[in-house]
Amino acid sequence: MIRLLSVLVVLVTLLHATYLYAQHSHEHGHDMGKAAMHQKSEDLGICPVMRGKASKDYSYVYEGKTYYFCCPSCVEEIKNDPEKYISKIKEVNLEAYQFGFTPDPIVVKKDDIVRFNITSRDVPHGVYIKEYGIDVSVRKGETKRVEFIADKEGEFDILCSVYCGSGHSQMKGRFIVER
């Protein structure tokens, strides 16, 4: 019995370690350009120039919209050619509903900075893209923001990770990253 209990403890520890590892890579996602950066209220997304974590201290207003950067030199850089960097930001209002996502498919170019503003039309849903480490749950009436660099080329499934009704298993969208 003690041996079996030990195995159970080891398994839970392994699961916990995997979870911590996933969280760790997620938190450092913007530095590595791999995992998604889930926007908290104090987060200002990814700097469009250096692709690091943006700061509220460095901002630039272009066509009525405020963009945030990681350092003063990035602000100077964007002033020279704003379109070069801002055209690389793809903002998508992604709505989940029973049983699909809109827009579908979502098409971006490789190395674009992708911003998802995620909402739900009806019951709680999850937006899960395994390859980009995105797993966000959203309830009707709230908006969750996720920002990441589309650094992997290909066609990826967007799945719902929160049970949302009898069509939950068929709920799927497509996220396409083109060259």
Binding site: L11, L15, Q98, K130, S161, S166, H168, S169
Partner: protein, 234 residues
């Protein structure tokens, strides 16, 4: 052969898996087969080595079907092995008065949900078949009070909150997982209370912590309360 209700459940799960295959990738087939092999293998080994019993692991096969059918099949195979081992070990370790407390598949899936592994419920491929066979199963193993208890409490709370409960009830959960014979208790009153606890908890999770899977979370709580429920008469 059909006298043993486990055979009916295995047949139903196999049919549901087959229905899902055309919509899924070939990986889903290997995923489900692996789930069954992991669960049945671990259970067989534990029974042989520790308990010195030779039992054909039918319950473990059901557990394997449920785990692999609900857990997202795009996850790595080692994760499926870990979740399968958790399910079977929970059955052999977490006991009260010589009976396991938790529905093994549910225990493992709830743990998976806590650790943010997505549950896509792929096995819920035909709700009409699930309801039809599920009603027969619930009736024949005297678990209708459990189903009614869940539906009453979950529906009442949802309707008070102006939500249509039937748009997001999992019939697979209701008719396959909730009524698992060994961990849900017997009797009219006990069954109704067990279902009620599950229904109320599911609603609370839905409202307060939707990150956790509402069904596996609620059954985990009800399983935990079950030893206390056994003190209720009838």
């Amino acid at each position: 052969m059909l006298k043993d209700k486990k055979n009916i459940v295995i047949a139903l799960l196999a049919i549901l898996t087959l229905i899902k295959i055309p919509q899924a990738e070939i990986r889903f087939v290997f995923w489900v087969l692996s789930g069954i092999i992991f669960c049945a293998g671990i259970d067989f080994l534990i029974n042989n080595i520790y308990w010195k019993k030779r039992i054909f692991p039918k319950s473990a096969i059901i557990t394997g079907f449920i785990i692999s059918g609900i857990l997202d099949y795009h996850q790595p195979f080692y994760m499926l092995a870990v979740i399968a081992a958790l399910a079977i070990l929970s059955k052999h370790i977490i006991k009260y008065k010589e009976k396991h407390i938790f529905n093994p598949a549910n225990f493992a899936l709830f743990t998976a949900s806590v650790f943010k592994l997505p549950l896509t419920w792929s096995i819920e491929s035909n709700i009409y078949l699930i309801i039809l066979v599920g009603l027969y199963l619930a009736y024949s193993i005297k678990k209708i009070p459990h189903v009614v208890g869940f539906l009453v409490f979950f529906s009442v709370f949802s309707l008070i909150d102006r939500i249509n409960p039937f748009i997001f009830i999992s019939w697979f959960f209701l008719f396959i997982m909730l009524i698992e014979p060994k961990t849900s208790g017997f009797g009219m009153k006990r069954g109704f209370v067990f279902g009620g606890i599950t229904g109320i908890t599911a609603f609370l999770i839905y409202k307060l912590v939707p990150v956790i899977d509402i069904f596996t979370g609620s059954l985990f709580v009800a399983n935990l309360a079950n030893p206390v429920l056994q003190k209720i008469r009838g």
